[in-house]
């Protein structure tokens, strides 16, 4: 097993999902025109995602998602309904999350920072 693969395998799915969502939110913030209220809300959501393991340092390392990653996440969200959220399992699966990390290596950098804590 490659070291990067081990990083991904060992990480809890909740943290994987947080990393993906953080990159997507950052993309929205830097590309979409929005009201100050909406922008503040998104930035505060990023701030709330930070905890003892997912540190602010790791958060600041995450680069905004690129267009392909964003499209992948949006397609996954389309599977969700009121009762079920299969997008969570899909996006945090080793294959899909590995692809997202390949498209946005900053996700791996953020995981490495987490592991050293």
């Amino acid at each position: 097993m490659q070291p990067d693969e081990a990083l991904i395998t060992d990480l809890a799915p909740g943290y994987k999902y947080d990393l993906v969502i953080a990159s997507v939110i950052k993309r929205e913030i830097i590309t979409e025109k929005m009201t100050a209220g909406d922008r503040l809300e998104l930035l505060e959501a990023l701030g709330k995602a930070v905890d003892r393991r997912f540190t602010s340092e790791a958060m600041s390392l995450i680069e905004p998602a690129d267009a392909t990653s964003l499209a992948m996440v949006r397609e996954a969200w389309k599977l969700d309904s009121e009762d079920a959220h299969p997008s969570f399992e899909l996006l945090t699966s080793e294959e899909v999350f590995g692809n997202l990390c390949a498209l946005n290596p900053s996700l791996l950098a953020a995981i490495r920072v987490q592991r050293h804590r």
Binding site: K26, T31, E32, K33, T35, A36, R39, G47, M59, L61
Partner: protein, 202 residues
Amino acid sequence: MLNAPHESKPSVVRKRNRPRKYSSEPLAPEIDESELGPCMLALTPKQRRFVLELRYGPAGYGSEIRACRAAGYGTPTSSDNSMKVQAHRVLHDPKVQNALREVGHKIIRAEAFQSIKTTTAIARDIKHRDCLKANLALLDRGGFATETVHHVQVDHQHRHAIEATPKVLERIRQLALAAGLNPAALPPTIDGEVVSKDDNAA
């Protein structure tokens, strides 16, 4: 062994030899189905007959039992007690209840005109003790009710939950820096500014 001769059966003697208050003869006229409402049409013929007997028969103690008998429930020899049970069962059927309500509303609507006539007659009789009441009732319903004026003031201000104040913008800048984003590179916000119609015209 000789069989004992059959004794003649004693005739049925009612415990209380009181004559029935009401005859169980049907009193309701035959009504064409086209004149019945949807709730009446939803009933069985017997239930429908029961409702009509209640509507056209006498009111008061024993009227339900009479209507039950007249509608054909039970047998001619059924006791009042068994008919009481039958009447209770039929009367509490939800379909029958709906039909009774339907028939009742029809009666009220039909009787309303008679009530108007009666009220008018009382209103014209200056010596009648309810003359004033009848006149007031007619005035109210004739569009001359006492006018009341209500002033209702509604203050409604629509505000965005968060406005782009310097404080909010500074908070955004700090959070963006903390998240590793360059605040200067963010696109401008799209908060609008309210311009009143008069200002616009000027």
